[in-house]
């Protein structure tokens, strides 16, 4: 039963990791906590529902459509709400992000109603037995899709030119600009990728839990943010690790009978880690330039 619960936790953690990546990448480059990120995840989930129920598409096409839509939305949000504020105080874009987040929540409530919406039937779920543990097809899909996406992200960041530019910009934004990197393009790209990952997370979670709600992004976003900080904000492997860590801890907590404290577990862990390792699990020590 423990291994079964671990599997439940890893599946949940994989979705947290997908969202956490967006937080971490955006923070790595422009030091902004994009509080609207959880809502992008929520919108992605709704696009998934729309594709399946109205356009009768399969999972793959719905997933891609949600990712594409949220990519454009993420870039648009950055253009409208963050870029004009980039040279103002650090607080201004943060508040703008909260504004965008609330705007998207209310907009979606207006369109879809406040009730949770069931995710339509898209694949035939079946159980596979592997020794003592059982894994469902949906769990497998979540694990495979999120691993592929994370591998893809790793490849882009490590080996593709724009990825190198991202790393350069996260190292030092101004110097990167002086070296001829089009920083605006890099930032747009970061938002696009982060939003696409969040949208994928939204569709997968919607399918897994069978429900999509306009306010689902709030807590998921907060927890993914936690995961990002836990792993070391700005660090991509950190976000993945943080997400998994959090998913497993939460599931084990619930299995152990601490359901009431389910959400508190994430934040307690965050506090504990920050007390002993202020930069997070895989974070680099903060360097002050002289």
């Amino acid at each position: 039963m423990l291994t079964q619960q671990l599997l439940n936790g890893i599946t949940l953690g994989a979705t947290y990791a997908l969202i956490a990546l967006g937080y971490t990448m955006v923070y790595g480059i422009i030091q902004l906590i994009n509080f609207a990120h959880g809502e992008i995840y929520m919108v992605g989930a709704f696009i998934g529902v729309l594709m399946v129920s109205v356009f009768h598409q399969g999972l793959l096409i719905s997933l891609c459509a949600a990712m594409a839509f949220c990519m454009i939305m993420g870039v648009a949000i950055e253009r409208v709400a963050y870029r004009p504020l980039r040279r103002s105080t650090r607080l201004a874009p943060l508040i703008s992000a909260i504004g965008v987040s609330i705007f998207l929540q209310t907009l979606m409530t207006k369109i879809e109603g406040p009730q949770a919406v069931a995710f339509p039937h898209v694949i035939n779920d079946s159980l596979y037995h592997m020794g003592a543990i059982e894994i469902s097809k949906i769990q497998l899909i979540i694990l495979v899709v999120s691993s592929l996406l994370m591998l893809g992200l790793h490849f882009i960041v490590k080996y593709v030119k724009i990825g190198k530019a991202m790393r350069a910009a996260s190292e030092d934004y101004d110097t990167a600009a002086l070296m001829g990197i089009n920083v605006n393009r890099v930032i747009s790209f970061t938002f696009a990728i982060g939003s696409a990952l969040a949208a994928a997370g939204g569709v997968l979670v919607g399918m897994y839990f069978n429900s999509v709600a306009p306010l689902m992004g709030v807590l998921a976003g907060l927890k993914a943010f936690c995961a990002a900080v836990l792993g070391g904000i700005g660090s991509i492997p950190g976000a993945m690790l943080g997400g998994l860590f959090l998913g497993v801890a939460e599931t084990l907590g619930v299995a152990g009978g601490f359901d009431l404290y389910k959400d508190a577990i994430a934040f307690t862990m965050l506090i504990v880690v920050l007390l002993f390792r202020p930069t997070g699990l895989l974070g680099r020590p903060i360097q002050r330039k002289v």
Partner: protein, 398 residues
Amino acid sequence: MKKGKLWLLLTILVGVVMIMAGCGGGGQKQNSADSNQAAGGGDTIKIGFLGAKTGEHAAFGVETLKGMKMAADDINKAGGVNGKKIEIVESDHGSKITEGTNVTQKLITRDKVVAIVGDPTTGITKAAAPIAQQNKVVLLSAGAVGTGVVEIGDYIFRDVLLDAVAAPAVTKYVNQKLGWKKVALITSMNNDYSVGLSKLFRKAIQENGMEIVAEQSIQDRDQNFSAQVTAIKDKNPDGIIFTGYYTEGGLFMKEARKQGMKAVMVGGDGLLSDVLMKMGGDAVEGSMVYCGFAADEARANEKTKKFIEAYKAGNNGTLPDMFSAQGYDAVMLLADAMKAAKSEDPQKFRVELAKTKDWQGVSGVITFQDNREPLKSPVYILTVKDGKFQVKDTVEVK
């Protein structure tokens, strides 16, 4: 350059204002019309509706309000109460407790209602009742089935089948008729109703010699129940007793079927909504729900049949649920008490209301006991069959 920017800002602002006006218009117009009418007419009896039209338990509130309006129409067509017409003052607290108390305050102090029908949920009723009690306004909940409601004061009533009556009856039913011995009990910890109902079930299970083999807690708005299901699965219960609401109930069963559990779920009227089937799909087939009213034309008396027909006519042929029937009865009960007292003064008609005995409503026979707790019979047991609630059985209670 600067001028250009200013214009842009102004255009955006005007745009936003227009969008907001467009969105909010519908609801506001309705409200202002209501208050105009309220201010104009001095010879109406105002009854307030406390409930949710939006939010998680909107399904309860919307149905209650439908029933109340039907009752008001029927009363007004028949000449009103003591020569005055009944007017329903609507409100919406969006399923939030804090808003619930605000709305109660508003209904009493601004709208000057003599009675409030609501809230359909126990939690918000318990928050609103002290305000009604202090202001000496009758509050009659058409849905609160949990414990500790009428104890708040002598102006507080309810016309529902109590969990304290229904839970033991249902437990006995699943034990004797269905042969359940081992059950799993699932409670939603941030839901007052669920916590109270679980307590009643726990006691009834013990008294019937059954055993709780697994007990798990969830929370309202949770979406992930994989850990809880995994934990109860190995214990192989005969059935799952689920005391929370419909959204979580449907999702919980979906997860249970996903993990290969066969046991069916039984729960209180908190599960009674089509949303249960929307969220649960095939997984809730066979699930059982008890409630104080079911639109069962085969078993209905004349009064109830008439109500069902009228409801169907006004709602594209859909059947009324427990909440619309109890909302209807609530207004009728109040009207009858006012007639008996020949007064709309809450201090006077509440005495008559408390004397209600063997009162035939559309949702069953109601008697208020000495402690103002209602006794209501029969208990309907519904089951989900082909995606619809159907009457499975009735249990008489004394």
